[in-house]
Amino acid sequence: MRPASDDIAVFLQWEAVLLDERRFDEWLDLLAEDVWYWIPLVPEQRNPLDGPSHVYDTRDALLARVYRLKDPQNLPQQPPSRCCRIMGRPFHVATETDAKHGADTVVRTPFQLIESLPHHDAEESNRQFAGTITYGLSTGGNALRIRWRRVDLINSHKGLHGVSILI
């Protein structure tokens, strides 16, 4: 297992901070123009068209999710959830998707996300997500960019309650 460079680790840490702090415009700047944002249903899926997923967004659909999150009338986010993402150390992996989709580097990190839900009392308000995020990155040029992003949740095949944040 080959660890990713510090540059990549810090970049992914920064991505998590931007999402935690709901700095969505800055987050969008980390994504390539033709980004995929993918949350498959099961780990065996090889590409986003290989059976149903939870999310398979290209930039246009992802933008709609972001605009909805920023909308004060967004029903399940009044007030917005507060989130804390804990990212592991990223390491290089051979790409397991059928196409690299423009990425020259593929890294994966285990992560945990704790979401404090609105509208719930203290005992049941902290909800956890865990799994891995696999990133297809382009590292050439001036800046790191996310070409695709695949989130494998350890409970993605179970009956989850509604999720209205970005994971």
Partner: protein
Amino acid sequence: MQYTPEAIASLVTDTQFDPRVYGDEELFRLEMGRIFDRAWLLVGHESLIRKPGSFIATRAGSHPILVWRDMQGVVRAFLNRCAHRGTKLCSQDRGTAASLVCPYHGWVFAADGALKSVPAPEEYGNGFRFDDWGLAPVAALALYRGFIFVRHKTEGPSLDSFLGDIRSSIDDLVDRAPDGEVEACQIPLRHRYKGNWKLGFENLNDAHHARVAHAATVRAATRVTSELGERAKHGSLGVMKANGMPIRQFSQLDLVTSDYGHSYLFGFIDGQKKQAYPQEYVDKLVAARGAHEAERVLGVNRHLTLLYPSATIQGRFQTMRLIHPIGPNLTEIVGYLFRLKGAPDPLYEEALHYFHISISPFSPVATDDFELYEGAQELNSSSAAGPIVVSRLHDPAAASPRGRTVHRGTSEAFIRNQYATWVSYMSRDVR
């Protein structure tokens, strides 16, 4: 509280019902026995158990069941319970096996339900006969065009008369396949909400709410398309925007109710599209079925069909949802997406996007609905809660609808029809 038939009937009037129907434990228990044990319940599709020995473990009402294709190819369904000490026979969600071994004492059951072997059978006594201890089959099982229905009581209407005219919504799905066959995704997409099963049934054909409840999503998708123009082409954007259609347009759609609480709403999602279907798909359907039949098939335009009390079907979007009531305050939805055999990939891709945006717990549309369900569940458990009002587009002069009846798209008639059915099931004791 004791619910006599009179007490049940008093919970529902033509245009109102008592808020206790959502949260009351005793009513939920009665619903499981009187509705879910009596109605035909959709539990799956043949394509999920294609090979001999293949099975799925699922629920039918309150009962965990195994739907199992035996080695002769016959589809069967049993309580997922060992006939000996009542433990769960199979913990896998799906698989293929000619027989299953109970993990407790090793009783072995064949795919046709027969008890095949028992370790040290002599210990069970001289009178022990294997024939007496097979798996408990469901009382009735029937298929309609590959869709598997079960019922827990022997007596009741045939599946044909239970479905009535609404079977045409299953036809609508299967007929769309150029090869005449549909195939369900093997692993379903699930979500849960903290609310009663009926809340979902009262929402999915409610065209009036879409523009209000999903306003933020409509705004978001509209903004993306105005900013990106032609580059905004993701399949979900049109679905999100369609929710913003003016109420008067929704009201011009047809809403059809029928016996046993079923209903369907005409389609609206394709409304703004230049061409509803990829040309390649239309060509394949015409080649397979002829121009006339292809035109008829694609001319059917239904958004969603509610098969009361267990499922929804969408031909246009190739989906099936199974509704699993877990408790009065908790419901699981199990979503299956179908491939139309012989149809080209772009059609499947479009259906995938629709599936994600309507059935995933991450859906930017459905998450609005969950929020509403959960709020309703909480507030209707209050003893101060007044009645639920479902009077929209009710005509007090009209007789209560029988058989296939057409209403305006924004009518609450489908909910009134569900509660008339509810009272009819609930006020009769289970035989």
